[in-house]
C-alpha cells in the first residue's frame, strides 16, 4: 500500500465530508453548487435560524419550526461537495449534528411524541454517526447506498417536519427509529463481523480523541 501525502489529505477530506451524513437532496444541491460555496458560514446561520424557529414555536399554534429543515437544507446542502478545507471547516459536521439532534428533539417534545421514543431515535442516529467515524478510521467506508437509505440529516428532518405538519409525528418517529435502527444496525454489524476478523494490525482507535472519549 502506497500512501502519498496527497492521498492522505484526500482521505481525511472525504472523512470530514462523510461525517456530514448528507442525504439525497443535500447531495443534489451540492452537485448544483459544484463545491464553490463555503460550508462554515451558512451552517452557522442555519444553526442560529433553527434555534430561533424552534424557540419561536414554543406555545404558538402556527408552527414556524416546521420550516427549519428547509432553511437548514438550503443553507447547508449546497456546501456538501465543498472540500471542507477552510481552517474552521471541521466545525461543520458537529454543527449539522447539533442542528439535526436539536431539531428532532425539540420538534418531538413540542409534538408530544413519547420521550423515550425520541431518546431511542437519537440513540439510533448517534450509533450511525459514531459507526461512520469508527469505520472510516479503518478505511472501511460505508457503501454510498447506506447514506442514501439512511435519508441523511436533511431527509430525516424533512420527514419529521412533514409528519408533524400532518399531525402524525409520533408515528413518524416510531417508523424512523424502527427503520433506521434495523438498517444501520444490521448493515454495520454485518460489515464488521465479515471484515473485522482480519489479521490484527495495531489499531489505535483512541488516536484522535483528545478528550479521552
Amino acid at each position: 500500500m502506497t500512501t502519498t501525502a496527497n492521498d492522505s489529505v484526500a482521505y481525511h477530506t472525504s472523512r470530514l465530508v462523510a461525517y456530514r451524513d448528507d442525504g439525497l437532496i443535500a447531495q443534489t444541491l451540492g452537485r448544483l453548487a459544484q463545491g464553490i460555496l463555503p460550508p462554515l458560514a451558512p451552517a452557522l446561520v442555519a444553526a442560529g435560524i433553527t434555534i430561533v424557529l424552534v424557540l419561536a414555536d414554543v406555545g404558538v399554534e402556527a408552527t414556524p419550526a416546521l420550516f427549519a429543515p428547509v432553511v437548514a437544507l438550503l443553507l447547508t446542502g449546497p456546501a456538501s461537495t465543498h472540500p471542507h478545507d477552510g481552517p474552521l471547516d471541521w466545525l461543520v459536521p458537529p454543527l449539522i449534528r447539533g442542528i439535526e439532534y436539536g431539531y428532532l428533539a425539540a420538534l418531538g417534545f413540542a409534538q408530544d411524541v413519547s420521550e423515550p421514543l425520541i431518546f431511542v431515535l437519537i440513540a439510533v442516529l448517534a450509533y450511525h454517526h459514531y459507526d461512520t467515524v469508527y469505520r472510516t478510521r479503518q478505511r472501511l467506508w460505508p457503501q454510498p447506498w447506506v447514506f442514501r437509505a439512511g435519508l441523511g440529516w436533511d431527509g430525516r428532518m424533512l420527514v419529521a417536519a412533514i409528519a408533524a405538519f400532518a399531525g402524525i409525528a409520533p408515528l413518524a418517529y416510531a417508523a424512523l427509529a424502527a427503520y433506521l435502527g434495523v438498517l444501520f444496525g444490521i448493515e454495520s454489524v454485518y460489515t464488521w463481523t465479515r471484515t473485522g476478523r482480519g489479521e490484527g494490525v495495531m489499531v489505535d482507535l483512541e488516536d484522535e480523541e483528545e478528550v479521552g472519549s
Binding site: 437519537i122 440513540a123 484522535e208 483528545e210 479521552g212
Partner: protein
C-alpha cells in the same frame, strides 16, 4: 511479515583467524546470532538473510543459515539495495552481534505507525569522551541528523543502537540510499563523530588534527558513562552498515522515528565480556512486567489513572492467564453495564447504589480489555470497533436506565427526579456532538500537509546545513492562536494544571464517575443536570482552544 537482514561482518580482535562477533557465546550453548535468530523466529519473522564475508560465510552456512556472501562494505550495501528494491514487506536491518530484549524487538517490529524507525537511547556527550556508538540528534521523536564514521552530527543527544526498520514505501528510498552509499564506499573521509555548534569548517580541521585524533584511537573511551562499563565500551572495528543506512535515510529527507529502549536492552556485544554483560542486562529485566506496565495507557484521564489503572493491570494479567480474549472482556463489560442500567431503572435507592457500583466495574472492565489487547498483542479491527461502540452503548444505556428509574420512582422519594427524559436526550445529544467535534477536528488536523524535510548530500562530512540561521531565536507568541498553543504547551509541564485540564474536559472516566456518584448519592435529575452543565463548560473550553489553534 518482516524480512530481517542481519549484518554479520564485525570481527573480534585481529590475527589470522578473527572470529565473528555474531559467533560470541550467549550463555553456555548458544551464540549471539543463534539467540537473535531464535528471538526473530518466536516473533514470527522467519524470513532472515545474513550478510557475511566469504571467508566466514562457510562457517555460518554450516548451521543451515541463508547467507549472502560479500567482499566488502560496497558489497554489503549493494546486497541490501537489492533486497530493499524487491521488498514488499518491512525490512529489519541489524547487526548479528546485537543483544536485544525480546519485548523491545517485538514492539519495534510491530510498530506499524512509522514507515521508518530506529532504536536509539538518550545520552550526553561530554567533551572529553568519544562515543563508541553512532550518534544521532533527536528532536520530537524524529531523527534530525544521524552520524556514521564518515558523517558528523552537531550536538548529538542520543546514540543509535544499530537496529533499523524500514517499511514500504520508504524501502525504495532505502534502496536508493544503499546504492548511493555503495558507490561512495571507500571514498569518504573519516570524521570525528561530534561537531559542537558554532564550530566552523576550518576550526574543525584544526580540531581533528590536534585533540580528537588521539581519542579516535580509543585512549579515552574507557570513561564512557554507561551503567555497566562492560556494556558498549568497545568501538566497532568494521564499518557500521545500519548506521550508514540510517544516515543516508535521514539525509535523503526520510522521516525516521526514534524509538527509545526505556529500561529494555539493545546493545551490540563486540567482546566476550560485553556478551556476558549484555546477557546479564537482558535477564535483569522482567519483560513481562514491562509489557504489562506498557499495556496501561499512559495518556488517560485523572480518574482512569488513579481509580482504575492503578489495579486493573492485575485483572488484565489474570484475564490473560485465563486465556480470555479482549473481545470477551469487552462483551462482559457491556453486559455489566446493561445490568447496571436495569438496576438504575428500578427506581429505588438500592437500585441506584447497586447500579452505580456495577457501572464503575463496567468501566474498569472497559479499561481491562484495552490493556489485555496490548498485553497479549491481540489487535483486531472488530475488537477496536466493538470497544469503541460499546463504550458509547454503555454510557447511553445507563442514561436510559436512569431516566426510567426516575420516572417510576414513587413521588416524594429522594430517588424521584420527575420526568427526566428531556434531560437524558439533551445529555446524549450534547455528548455525541462533543465527540463529533473531537472526530472532525482530528480528521482536519491530520490533513495538514507535512513540510518536506531538508535533504543533505551524503558527501557532506557534517550536518552544518541544518544549523539555524544566525540570529534566529525562538519567537514570542504572536496573536491569540499562537498564544493559546504556547499556553497549552506551557501548562502541560505543570502536573497540577495538566490534570486540571484533563478533568475539565470531562473524559470518559470522569463521566462514568460523575454518573455513578451523583446517581448513588442523589438522583437521576442531578446526574443529568451535572452532565449537562459540566459538558457545556467542557465543550466551550475545548472549542475555544481548538478554534484559536485552527486560526493560528
Amino acid at each position: 511479515m518482516t524480512l530481517a537482514v542481519i549484518v554479520a561482518t564485525e570481527t573480534v580482535g585481529e590475527g589470522a583467524d578473527p572470529g565473528l562477533t555474531a559467533e560470541l557465546p550467549y550463555g553456555p550453548d548458544s551464540t549471539l546470532l543463534e539467540r537473535l535468530l531464535t528471538s526473530l523466529a518466536s516473533l514470527n519473522v522467519p524470513d532472515r538473510r545474513i550478510i557475511a564475508r566469504r571467508d566466514t560465510a562457510a562457517l555460518l552456512r554450516k548451521d543451515g543459515l541463508e547467507v549472502i556472501e560479500t567482499d566488502d562494505l560496497a558489497g554489503d550495501l549493494e546486497q541490501i539495495a537489492e533486497l530493499a528494491r524487491n521488498a514488499r514487506q518491512p525490512l529489519l536491518i541489524m547487526h548479528g552481534d546485537t543483544v536485544v530484549s525480546d519485548e523491545l524487538l517485538a514492539r519495534f517490529i510491530r510498530d506499524s505507525k512509522a514507515p521508518a524507525s530506529a532504536v536509539t537511547a538518550r545520552g550526553s556527550f561530554p567533551e572529553d569522551v568519544l562515543p563508541t556508538r553512532p550518534v544521532v540528534r533527536v528532536h520530537r521523536a524524529r531523527i534530525v541528523s544521524a552520524g556514521s564514521r564518515y558523517h558528523q552530527v552537531t550536538d548529538p543527544n542520543a546514540v543509535f543502537k544499530g537496529v533499523l526498520r524500514v517499511a514500504p514505501p520508504e524501502t525504495r528510498a532505502l534502496a536508493d540510499v544503499a546504492a548511493e552509499m555503495a558507490d561512495l564506499a571507500g571514498r569518504l573521509t573519516e570524521m570525528p563523530p561530534i561537531r559542537r555548534r558554532g564550530d566552523v569548517a576550518e576550526q574543525l580541521e584544526r580540531f581533528v588534527d590536534t585533540d580528537v585524533e588521539g581519542d579516535i584511537d580509543g585512549s579515552s573511551t574507557a570513561a564512557t558513562p554507561v551503567t555497566d562499563l562492560r556494556l558498549g565500551a568497545t568501538a566497532p572495528r568494521g564499518d557500521d552498515v545500519p548506521a550508514l543506512l540510517l544516515t543516508g535515510l535521514v539525509r535523503a529527507g526520510v522521516r525516521v522515528s526514534a524509538r527509545g529502549t526505556r529500561i529494555l536492552v539493545c546493545e551490540r556485544a563486540l567482546t566476550e565480556d560485553e556478551a556476558v554483560a549484555a546477557r546479564e542486562a537482558v535477564e535483569a529485566v522482567d519483560e513481562d512486567k514491562v509489557r504489562l506496565d506498557a499495556a496501561v495507557k499512559g495518556n488517560d484521564g485523572f480518574f482512569t489513572t488513579y481509580a482504575v489503572s492503578s489495579y486493573s493491570w492485575l485483572l488484565a494479567r489474570w484475564a490473560a492467564r485465563r486465556r480470555l480474549t479482549p473481545n470477551m472482556v469487552t462483551s462482559i463489560s457491556m453486559g455489566v453495564a446493561v445490568v447496571a442500567a436495569v438496576w438504575f431503572a428500578a427506581g429505588t435507592r438500592t437500585g441506584l447504589i447497586v447500579g452505580a457500583i456495577l457501572l464503575y466495574f463496567a468501566f474498569v472492565l472497559d479499561c481491562v480489555d484495552g490493556q489485555l489487547a496490548r498485553y497479549t498483542r491481540q489487535f483486531s479491527t472488530l475488537g477496536a470497533w466493538l470497544d469503541a461502540t460499546f463504550d458509547r452503548g454503555k454510557e447511553y444505556v445507563a442514561y436510559a436506565g436512569l431516566a426510567v428509574g426516575s420516572t417510576v420512582a414513587p413521588q416524594g422519594s429522594s430517588v424521584h427526579g420527575g420526568d427526566v427524559w428531556r434531560l437524558a436526550v439533551a445529555a446524549m445529544a450534547l455528548q455525541t456532538c462533543r465527540h463529533m467535534v473531537d472526530f472532525s477536528f482530528g480528521a482536519a488536523k491530520r490533513r495538514v500537509r507535512r513540510e518536506p524535510l531538508p535533504v543533505l548530500p551524503l558527501t557532506a562530512p557534517d550536518d552544518s546545513a541544518l544549523d539555524a540561521p544566525p540570529g534566529a531565536t525562538r519567537s514570542r507568541p504572536r496573536g491569540m492562536g499562537q498564544l493559546a498553543i504556547w499556553l497549552s504547551n506551557r501548562t502541560e509541564k505543570m502536573p497540577g494544571l495538566r490534570w486540571a485540564k484533563k478533568i475539565v474536559i470531562l473524559p470518559i472516566g470522569e463521566r462514568f464517575a460523575l454518573i455513578s456518584l451523583s446517581a448513588a448519592l442523589f438522583n437521576a435529575k442531578v446526574t443529568f443536570v451535572a452532565l449537562l452543565i459540566w459538558g457545556v463548560l467542557a465543550g466551550v473550553y475545548t472549542l475555544t482552544g481548538r478554534v484559536l489553534r485552527s486560526l493560528a
